[in-house]
């Protein structure tokens, strides 16, 4: 499935002016691209940057019905909405819009339950690799070597593979996407919306405020994450993994842009030693090796 530029230009305006997002915010691009691809969305947002940037009550910059809920209650609240709307006979698209902290860490049980029940929900995780709205604390998505306020000397552990955990639930659709490739993201959301059941889309969403990067290069960082192999693009449909056209060639390490180019543009990695960079490269290759096994 391919997204038409004209279609994307005519999509509804879901993100209004007056939101509180920082300059160069990756999640805003992810939100606008994803939610505008959906028909009649109702969006559940746990504690995360999106619960803050939507503006202050009674103003709201997210132009779709939005339920803000406790950190670990996104997929359960969405389950309730999906079932209630089914009971009322109303056609809607029930969405979880969560950050990585809410998906990788504190909300893991609630989405695992909803995925096991195969609730009719699209779960988006915009992944900025840490707890962003509270000032950059470490999460399960933080990569090895990254400095956060709770890992001042750089994180010692590799990041969790949330999509492989999700894949173990055998849900009908999983995809990874990046704000560096909005047409690819848009097309994946469109595709997900044609499928019933629990669907998961992980979006790489750079955060210049926490990554200590230039706000002007947010999309470029998204692209670099794909080109260095750091963030592979793929879909898993009914258990079969297919690498996306945009990122497929980076399965061969020979084709990858040197990781250092990606790391050097973000001051969060400035404390990394050469040996740690080697470790991160191993982490990246390990993830690719595991993904290839799902093909």
């Amino acid at each position: 499935m391919k997204a038409k530029i004209t279609e994307m230009m005519e999509r509804p305006n879901v993100l209004l002016r007056g939101n509180f997002a920082c300059a160069g915010c990756g999640l805003s691009i992810a939100y606008r691209t994803s939610i505008s691809a959906l028909d009649r969305p109702i969006v559940v947002i746990p504690a995360c940057c999106s619960s803050v940037i939507q503006s202050l009550h009674p103003n709201v910059a997210f132009n779709v019905p939005t339920l803000n809920i406790a950190f670990a209650a996104h997929a359960s609240a969405a389950s309730g909405i999906a079932r209630a709307k089914k009971m009322r006979g109303e056609e809607v698209t029930t969405v979880v819009w969560s950050g990585d902290g809410g998906t990788y860490d504190i909300g893991l049980a609630t989405w695992s339950g909803a995925a096991e029940r195969n609730e009719n929900i699209i779960h988006f995780c915009y992944d900025n690799n840490f707890y962003s709205n509270t000032g950059a604390q470490r999460s399960g998505a933080t990569p090895r070597g990254a400095v956060t306020t709770t890992t001042p000397e750089g994180k010692k552990e590799k990041r969790k593979s949330i999509t492989r955990i999700m894949a173990a639930h055998d849900i009908p659709y999983i995809a990874t996407a990046s704000i560096g490739y909005p047409r690819d993201l848009y097309a994946k959301v469109k595709k997900a919306s044609t499928i019933e059941g629990y669907r998961f889309i992980l979006i790489d969403a750079p955060c210049p405020t926490g990554w200590l990067s230039d706000p002007a290069i947010t999309p470029e960082l998204g692209e670099l994450a794909v080109k260095t192999g750091y963030f592979p693009l793929y879909e898993i449909e009914n258990g079969n993994l297919i690498f996306s056209r945009k990122g497929e060639k980076y399965r061969d390490p020979e084709n990858r842009v040197p990781l250092e180019e990606y790391l050097s543009k973000q001051n969060r990695f400035k404390k990394m030693t050469p040996s740690q960079i080697v470790e991160v490269k191993k982490d990246i290759q390990h993830e690719w090796d595991q993904l290839v096994r799902l093909e």
Partner: protein, 406 residues
């Protein structure tokens, strides 16, 4: 105000002939409206009659029969309900919050540790005013103990929920049906907890008169949402709010409780007229209050047990009266003060403790006594924690102690 026959009166009317009692019971069992059921089954039956559109529940922590009974009813097609088998109590409350805001009548049930695990979202439902009905089987907290006390529900007395404490399985059923009407009244619009003592009610069978579906439908109209998540009319619920917004919201919640205080007796009256039994009182009075030497105040089954104490003490020529608040939130202050003003002594029995202070009921009543400058000899006692057995003689002993002490 209590119209039911006392144990002694029943015995007299039956001429102490146990065969007659058995015959009466068989007759009542044959009557299709009267069934023998546990408190858990009474809850499930009331829920079924109230036609919730979405139920989300977790069966354990600790387990009660409510969730299993309801899943059976849904599976057999006896209920037109979406049933969500969630993976925890936290998710159960999350799901009913979502379902309620999506425009459906919702129900869940829990107990003890389950209520505590749900805690964050119990507050969420209270503060954002989600009209869900949730029976709580009152059981002790850790270390593991599955017997009754009120520590679980008392932990949430401040959470913005209406709280009822039932004395028997009949009241469990009646209050649960009423709870939907109260929660969903547009001038109240807040969650309701129906508390029933673990094992004494939840796992013990007793006769319960079950109203017909037609009667319940006549009392309880379909769910009418005040606000609903709707793509045609987008709004954000629970978004980031400044101090003024929170203040406004909390003040509106206080108003909601004031409305509930006025409206609950009216809704009880309507239930009594359309279905029967219940009565319109917030506090049940058993005994001769005008001549009582001591009033006992207790919640739930302790209150019912104290009714037997009143009879027992009459034989010893001691006049006592029981004041049993069945509505604890909103706290029936003015009703209590009117009653307490009639008695010289007060014994408040709590089945929970605010550790570092005293029983919650005692603390709250003392505050009212001070505020209204009520002259009464005040006594308090904590009883029945962790399911310690409390019978009518134990309560009588306490009353006798109170009478001796002053």
């Amino acid at each position: 105000m209590c119209s039911c026959l006392s144990r002694k009166e029943k015995a007299e009317s039956l001429g102490n002939d146990s065969r007659i009692e058995v015959k009466e019971m068989v007759q009542s069992l044959e009557n299709p409206q009267t069934k023998l059921m546990t408190g858990a089954e009474a809850v499930a039956t009331a829920a079924k009659l109230s036609r919730p559109q979405v139920i989300a529940a977790y069966p354990i922590t600790p387990q009660t029969k409510i969730v299993e009974t309801l899943s059976g009813m849904v599976a057999r097609g006896e209920m037109d309900t979406e049933y969500i088998n969630v993976e925890s109590e936290h998710s159960a409350m999350g799901a009913v919050i979502g379902a309620s805001l999506a425009g459906t009548r919702t129900f869940t049930a829990t107990s003890s540790h389950g209520l505590l695990y749900m805690g964050e979202l119990v507050w969420w439902a209270g503060m954002t005013r989600i009209p869900v009905v949730m029976p709580v089987v009152n059981r002790s907290l850790n270390p593991w103990n599955i017997w009754p006390d009120h520590q679980d529900a008392m932990t949430f007395r401040d959470a913005g929920w209406i709280q009822f404490y039932a004395k028997n399985n009949q009241e469990v059923l009646d209050l649960t049906i009423c709870a939907f009407k109260i929660a969903e009244h547009h001038k109240i619009w807040m969650p309701v907890m129906v508390c029933l003592d673990g094992f004494i009610l939840s796992h013990t069978s007793a006769q319960v008169e079950v109203p017909s579906q037609k009667k319940v439908d006549n009392f309880l109209p379909p769910f009418e949402p005040l606000a609903m998540l709707d793509p045609d009319n987008p709004f954000a619920h629970g978004s980031l709010t400044d101090s003024e917004g929170i203040w406004e919201q909390r003040m509106s919640l206080i108003d909601g409780f004031n409305n509930a205080h006025v409206l609950i007796p009216q809704i009880f009256t309507e239930y009594t007229e359309k279905i029967g039994r219940l009565g319109n009182y917030l506090i049940e009075v058993t005994g001769d209050i005008e001549h009582a030497e001591c009033a006992v105040i207790a919640l739930g089954t302790l209150g019912e047990e104290a009714e037997q104490t009143v009879e027992y003490l009459l034989e010893k020529n001691i006049k006592a009266v029981v004041l049993r608040p069945r509505v604890f939130r909103p706290f029936p202050k003015k009703e209590l003060i009117v009653l307490i003003n009639k008695v010289p002594r007060l014994l408040v029995i709590d089945r929970a403790v605010s550790f570092g202070n005293a029983g919650q009921l005692a603390i709250e009543i003392q505050a009212e006594l001070f505020a209204h400058k009520v002259e009464v000899k005040f006594h308090q006692k904590i009883m029945g924690l962790g399911g310690m057995d409390v019978n009518y003689v134990d309560i009588a002993t306490e009353i006798e102690r109170v009478l001796k002490e002053d």
